[in-house]
């Protein structure tokens, strides 16, 4: 029993890339609706009702994106009204709404992805691709707090020596740039020492190891296979033009054939997978607790 965020990072990444990838390649309106709703539900499920500001930002962005297209593009047959001698058409408006739904949906997915994929998981994935790249990234991450601490130390030392006061702007800027310059020299020297020390301790002698172990359990395998299966059907439906939707010059929606319907259903299932997992986990947790 483990929640979605505890699955193997590779599995989570594959799932996120499948969901967002389909949403970006295929612009079928119903698919966009599924993607947007799924993304919002997933985000709400993880964060509850907090992050009100983010929701507001996304909502405003949605409106801007939806309205931008009809103001710029004047394709389409059905003219709604004329503004500044430019026709505003129904088709362009709907196209804008569709694009906005796609972009906001993907933005919501990526927000959740950024929350779930901590930098540690990123290093796990890049470590599998290239150990050296993973090392550079992890060192850079480690340097950020180190540098900020060191610059505070240098700053204190400079003030204690009476080298600058921060009540005078010019003096302040001069002093801070001196602190920055000292920090750079220190950082470079420190980096070389770190590198030598790493070499001395046998860096590069064998594969990089991880602080946390990410096992590939049976559940991970099952989830991965299920994701790929569902993705295949959806991608086949999108690739075989079963889900085509033409906006210009006038909206022509062919009724989706069997493959298209199957694609929509599998995409919905794909999005629901983590919701199912979370529900199962919480139900089981409640059941176990009731037994105590």
């Amino acid at each position: 029993m483990k929640s979605f965020a505890e699955y193997n990072p590779i599995v989570i990444t594959v799932w996120f890339f499948s969901v967002t990838g389909v949403a970006m390649f295929c612009s079928y309106p119903l698919l966009m609706l599924i993607s947007l709703c799924g993304a919002v539900i997933f985000f709400l499920m993880r964060n509850g009702l907090s992050h009100g500001r983010e929701h507001l930002f996304f909502f405003i962005l949605f409106l801007i994106l939806a309205l931008a297209n009809p103001l710029v593009s004047h394709n389409g047959k059905t003219v709604l009204f004329v503004m500044n001698h430019n026709p505003v058409t129904l088709e362009a408006t709907l196209y804008g709404v569709n694009s906005a739904a796609m972009i906001i949906g993907v933005l919501y997915w990526l927000r959740s992805f950024t929350q779930i994929m901590t930098s540690e998981k990123l290093l796990y994935i890049t470590g599998a691709l290239s150990p050296k790249l993973s090392l550079v990234l992890s060192m850079a991450l480690r340097f950020v707090p180190l540098f900020s601490r060191q610059s505070a130390k240098i700053n204190n030392a400079q003030i204690a020596m009476g080298l600058y006061k921060d009540d005078n702007i010019i003096d302040d800027i001069k002093g801070r740039s001196r602190v920055f310059s000292i920090l750079i020299t220190w950082a470079l020297e420190n980096g070389i020492i770190t590198a030598d020390s790493m070499e001395a301790r046998g860096f590069g002698a064998c594969r990089r190891t991880q602080l946390r172990r990410f096992r590939f359990s049976a559940r991970d395998t099952a989830f991965l296979i299920l994701t790929l299966l569902l993705l295949t059907v959806t991608a086949a439906a999108a690739g075989a033009k079963s889900l085509s939707f033409v906006f210009y010059p006038s909206i022509t929606a062919e009724k989706p054939d069997l493959l298209g319907i199957a694609g929509l259903i599998t995409y919905g299932l794909l999005i629901l997978l983590p919701v199912i997992i979370e529900t199962e986990v919480s139900l089981r947790w409640k059941y176990l607790r009731s037994g105590i």
């Binding site: 295929c26 550079v136 540098f147 790493m198």
Partner: protein
Amino acid sequence: MLLIQSKKMRSIIKAVVPFVLIPSITIAGAVAFDEKKHIIIALASALSALLLFSAGFEKRSTGTRRMVIVAVMIALCFAGRFIPFLKPVAALTIIAGLYLGGEAGFLVGSLSALLTNFYFGQGPWTAFQMLAWGLIGLFAGILSKPLLLRRALLLMYGAAAGLAYSFIMDIWTVLWYNEGFNVRLYIAALGTAVPYTVSYAVSNVLFLYLLAPPFGEKLNRIKIKYGV
């Protein structure tokens, strides 16, 4: 995993990846496909960056030292992205390219885009940012001789890099929003991005003016002292 043994192969990759592979993938992916294949572009350009990386950092003992210096530069870029209004990432990337070579510049630019986006939001635009900043660093490395000789030229390069960055990112904005490339949307996007463009160009010039000479002195000192 990605270690390339033959030296000839490495030099071929070094020439082909940045000049042929990455731009052609980006352009082909964006224009030739009538649908949106940005994930493919993203993956391809990230993978090409990886290839370039392994091609440059092959030799082990000097490799570790250079790697750590690159990590230091990435960490500085990371901290720099938190400065409001000014954006020193491109300037630091250019400095890395100038003094440590084109590959290091490419790495600093592309990896800091990858890393900082874990805080500023990861997305398909990451690949474009990686590409834009990476190329800015790479060209700084290639043009390092004339740029180091004349300071005015360096500042001009910084301003041009800021403009180019904005232009590249707006191509991406339009392609994502609209299927296919629409000139009017592109101009509209450029129009709304004017404050950003100005901020990029100004901060590049400002930071290059302030940082390039002292930074270069320090990097050169490290290079001479430790033979990086």
